[in-house]
C-alpha cells in the first residue's frame, strides 16, 4: 500500500503536469485559430455526447503545419536556430577545451577552487549573466571604448543586436556545461599514457592529438550536446542580445503566442521543435549509455 502511494504521487503529478500538457499542445496544433476564448476551435464538448467528440475529431487537421511550410519565416527560423546552436557549440568547444585541459593539469590543491569557480556561475541568475553583456557589447559599451582607446578600430563596431552577440551570449552562459564533462574525462586520463606515447616516439603535440583527444571524446560529445540542446530552443539570449534579424525558434514561438495570440500556430511550432530535438537527445542518451557501459 505504502509502495503504491510512493509511486503514485510523483507519477500522477508528472502525468497531469507534464504529459497531459503535451497532449494538449499537440491537440491545439491540429486546431484552427478562432476569435474566441480560448482562441481556437474545435473545443472538446462532452455535453453533446458522441456527436461532440466526433465533431471534435473532424475539426482537427494539419493545416497549421502546412502553414508553417508555406510561410518561409518558420523554416528560416528553424534553420537559423540550428545554425546558431551549431556555431555556438563549436565556439564553446574551442573556448572550453583549453580551460578544461588547464583545470585537469592544474596542481591538486588548486582543483577544488577552479571547480568552484566554474560552478559558481551556475548558481547566479542566467538572466543577469546575459544582461551583463549588454553593457559591454553596445555601441558605446566597454568593448568598443577599449578597442577605440587602443586604436585597433576607429569606428565603434556594431555587435549588440547581431548574431555575433548571440554567439557570445550562448558561449558565455553555457560554457560550464561544456567544461565540466570534458574536465571529468580529462581528469581520469592517466598521465603515464602520455609518457608512454612520448616514450614510443610521439612529440607532445602528436601525443595530445593521438591520446588525449580520443580519450576525452566522450566528454567532448556530452559537452557539445549539453550546449547544443538548450541553445536550440533559447529565448532570452536572442531577445536581449540579438537584433530584429536574429531568427531563433524560441523567440518566434514566444512572439507568436504573446504578440499574435495565434495559439494553434505556436503549438505547431512547438511540436516541430520537439521533433527536431528528439534526434540530438537520443544521440546524447546513447553517448551517456556507452560511457556508463565503458565504466562498467
Amino acid at each position: 500500500m505504502r509502495r503504491f502511494t510512493l509511486i503514485a504521487v510523483p507519477y500522477v503529478w508528472l502525468l497531469v503536469l507534464f504529459l497531459v500538457p503535451f497532449i494538449i499542445v499537440f491537440k491545439i496544433s491540429l486546431s484552427d485559430t478562432a476569435l474566441a476564448i480560448p482562441p481556437y476551435t474545435p473545443t472538446l464538448d462532452f455535453s453533446s455526447g458522441w456527436e461532440g467528440i466526433r465533431n471534435f475529431f473532424a475539426g482537427l487537421d494539419f493545416e497549421n503545419f502546412k502553414f508553417l511550410t508555406t510561410d518561409d519565416l518558420y523554416w528560416k527560423a528553424y534553420l537559423s536556430s540550428l545554425q546558431i546552436a551549431a556555431i555556438s557549440t563549436v565556439l564553446s568547444l574551442l573556448v572550453g577545451y583549453p580551460i578544461a585541459y588547464g583545470m585537469a593539469q592544474a596542481p591538486d590543491e588548486w582543483r577544488p577552487t577552479l571547480m568552484m569557480l566554474i560552478i559558481l556561475p551556475f548558481w547566479t541568475s542566467f538572466l543577469i549573466r546575459v544582461y551583463s553583456w549588454m553593457g559591454i557589447l553596445s555601441n558605446e559599451g566597454f568593448l568598443n571604448q577599449f578597442l577605440l582607446w587602443t586604436g585597433i578600430i576607429s569606428e565603434p563596431l556594431l555587435i549588440l543586436n547581431t548574431n555575433t552577440a548571440v554567439y557570445i551570449g550562448i558561449v558565455y552562459t553555457y560554457l560550464p556545461f561544456m567544461i565540466l564533462p570534458i574536465y571529468a574525462a580529462l581528469e581520469k586520463l592517466d598521465i603515464s599514457l602520455l609518457e608512454a606515447a612520448e616514450d614510443l616516439g610521439c612529440s607532445r603535440l602528436t601525443a595530445f592529438w593521438l591520446i588525449t583527444i580520443p580519450l576525452s571524446k566522450q566528454g567532448i560529445i556530452a559537452g557539445c550536446f549539453l550546449v547544443f540542446i538548450p541553445a536550440l530552443g533559447e529565448f532570452v539570449i536572442p531577445s536581449l542580445l540579438g537584433g530584429s534579424q536574429t531568427l531563433m525558434i524560441g523567440k518566434v514561438l514566444f512572439e507568436e503566442f504573446f504578440s499574435n495570440r495565434d495559439w494553434p500556430v505556436a503549438s505547431a511550432v512547438a511540436v516541430i521543435l520537439l521533433l527536431i530535438l528528439i534526434i540530438p537527445i537520443v544521440l546524447f542518451q546513447r553517448n551517456e549509455q556507452k560511457q556508463r557501459e565503458a565504466e562498467g
Partner: protein, 273 residues
Amino acid sequence: MRRFSWFNATSLTIGFLFLYLPMVILIIYSFNESKLVTVWAGFSTKWYGELFQNQAFLDAAWVTVKVAVLSSTIASVLGTMAAYVLVRGGRFRGRTLFSGMIYAPLVMPEVITGLSLLLLFIGIGLDRGVLTIVLAHTTFSMCYVSVVVSSRLVSFDRSLEEAALDLGCSPFEAFRLVTLPIIAPAVISGWLLAFTLSLDDLVIASFTAGPSSTTLPIKIFSAVRLGVSPEINALSTIMISIVTVGVISASLLSKRALVRQKREERAAEQTAD
C-alpha cells in the same frame, strides 16, 4: 609536484577573465553616480537607495521568494520520492514512462514547457497566479531534485537499509531512520538547486504568471529590454553577492567537514585496538 605550465596558466586566466569580467564590470558600474551606464561619474550608492524605494520591484521580489520556497519544498519531497522509486522501486508497470517523464523536462526547451503548462491551466480553468507558477516550477525542478538524489541513492550501501530491516524496522522506519538522514545532504542540495532554478526562471514564469503575480525575472526582463539600467545593475549586484557568499561558504564548510573526517579516520586507524 605539478605546477601550472605557461600554456595552461594562460588559458585558465583568459577563460576565467571571460567568465567573470562581465559580472565584475556590472558590479563596479552599479556604484556609478551617472545615469549613463557606460560613463563613470564617481562613486555612489544611490541606485541601491532607489531600488529599495521601488515598490514594484519589492513586490515582485516577494512573489519570487514565495514561489521559490513553496515550489522547491514540494519539489524536494516529490523529487526524493521519485528518486527512491527509480533506484529502489524495482519493476512496476509504466516504469519506462516514469523515468522518461523524470528526464524529459531536463532537456525540454523552456518555451515548450511554459506553453504546454499554460494551455493546461487555461484548459482546466485555473486562474494564473502564484499557484500556477508554483505548480509549474515544482514540475520541472522535482526532476532536477530526483536526479541529484538518485545519484546519491545509487552509491548508497544497500546493506544499511537491510541492516535496519534486520534490526526490526519496517520499510518505512528504515527509510526515516537510516536512509533519509544519510541522503539528507543530497536532498538539501536538491532543494537549493530547485530554489535557484525557481528564482532564475523567466520563460516558464512568463507563461504561467498572472498580472498580479509578476516575478522578479519578469520585471528585470521587461526593464532591460529597453537597455542597460543602473537600478538593474544594483539589483544584479545584490543577487550575485548573495549567491557568491552562499556558494563559497558552502564549499568551505563541506571542505572543512571532509578534512576533519579524513583526519579522524587516520587517527582511528593509528590507535587501532
